[in-house]
Symmetry: C2
Subunit: 246 residues, 2 copies
């Protein structure tokens, strides 16, 4: 079986099958764009298949061969086309969602897709070109929970450097109770603070956002929070290697 | 002379010259990654050359032909490889910078590159993979102004949907006065409120951020601001066309 190389986490995976709808997945805290919805729902895949970006072997403009080099004036190696000179940048993506309330309870969605299939999340997904952060939050909530919102303030912005992502959540109020699961969602439900399934939350950015919310609510003062998910500490072996290296 | 098609604003431009360092430019409020620094400085180019993304004609993974279609379960057309099925997403990028103070005056940089060559900006640029928003703000300020900072709070997050960007600025304090222009900068200087060259500011997100700052300072209360640069109103002809279309 031919192998296919993905970048991001540089995982080499066997080509799964010829169905185009399940190719081109990304590794990440959220899987993002919607292309993988239905196929994923039918055939859940291991995390390794959600590669962040396809590797760049060819120039997408002219089809020429790619070399990795530091362009003049730059400080980092980039994917540069040896034929036409086009530089193919990779930059972090935004994952945007909403913390939506109804009479003090919070709307959560149980994920129908990998990664973290079966776990609970605030509705969220990759921001699309041409929209604002607020529009992305409302759209994702509509897509994942068929829920209509009155958006309040931007509430959290949390960097996830290991996934090349920044997660952003708005506070919001549900306009009605007519929500139901979208294609990426197994189940939608409202949770009061003591009902939150903390051990089954899909992403640490969601846990952080929920904790800020309940803390702020107990203080009677909602304020904006910026933060980050720390990079994992190096394993003991890595530290030894670093100490031993010249 | 062969033509080359760029996407984003879908501008067709003649291939400028064989120098690879000036290819692959993007249209945008900020030109971003550093590859174009020195070449741009020597040979400023019209705005049209700063195309957002090279067009996707070929699959960067396998070199196959690309078709534009809505993948199963998706709602938007994507660039899909007809050969291997890889889906090539395009998402907005983050431009991150700092509003850095020294005894009440603000550090601005006069741009040495297009777009907006010769105009003043807060130091900022495209966030890179693997870093946090805070790290990006400090790095860009170091690169553009050789200025070292103590970062304070995230201060503004402003969507620029027409450029597929979100701009974010931290408040910060300069650690010393040993700043000087980086390669993308003609001049660095500190400005008090009445000295700000409002008519020569490069980007509306910078103007908004500065206005919030002076307003908040006059109130004695700095708070986080989220906002957006509104899309341009449709021209009268566009409205007529929309009304006439079925």
């Amino acid at each position: 079986m031919p192998e296919r190389v993905f970048q991001g986490m540089d995982i080499i995976v066997p080509r799964p099958d010829p169905d185009p709808s399940i190719s081109g997945r990304r590794v990440g805290e959220f899987p993002g764009n919607k292309a993988r919805r239905s196929a994923s729902r039918m055939r859940p895949r291991p995390l390794e298949l959600f590669a962040m970006d396809p590797i760049i072997n060819y120039c997408c403009a002219c089809g020429g061969a790619i070399v990795l080099r530091v362009p003049p004036g730059d400080s980092l190696p980039r994917h540069v086309c040896a034929a036409c000179g086009a530089i193919h940048y990779r930059n972090p993506r935004m994952v945007v969602g909403a913390l939506a309330e109804w009479e003090g309870r919070i709307l959560l969605c149980r994920r129908a897709i990998e990664p973290r299939l079966g776990r609970w999340t605030l509705p969220a997904g990759f921001m699309e070109n041409g929209e604002t952060v607020a529009q992305a939050a409302a759209r994702e909530t509509l897509e994942e929970a068929n829920a209509r919102l009155e958006l309040h303030d931007m509430y959290t912005v949390i960097s996830v450097p290991q996934a090349n992502q920044v997660h952003m959540f708005y506070r919001a109020r549900l306009l009605d109770l007519d929500f139901f699961p979208g294609e990426e969602t197994l189940e939608t439900a409202l949770f009061s603070e003591h009902e939150i399934p903390w051990e089954e939350i899909a992403f640490r950015t969601v846990t952080q956002t929920l904790r800020h919310f309940f803390e702020d609510r107990s203080q009677g003062d909602f304020r904006f929070h910026a933060g980050e998910i720390p990079l994992p500490s190096p394993a003991p072996g890595d530290i030894d290697a670093a100490i031993k290296s010249p």
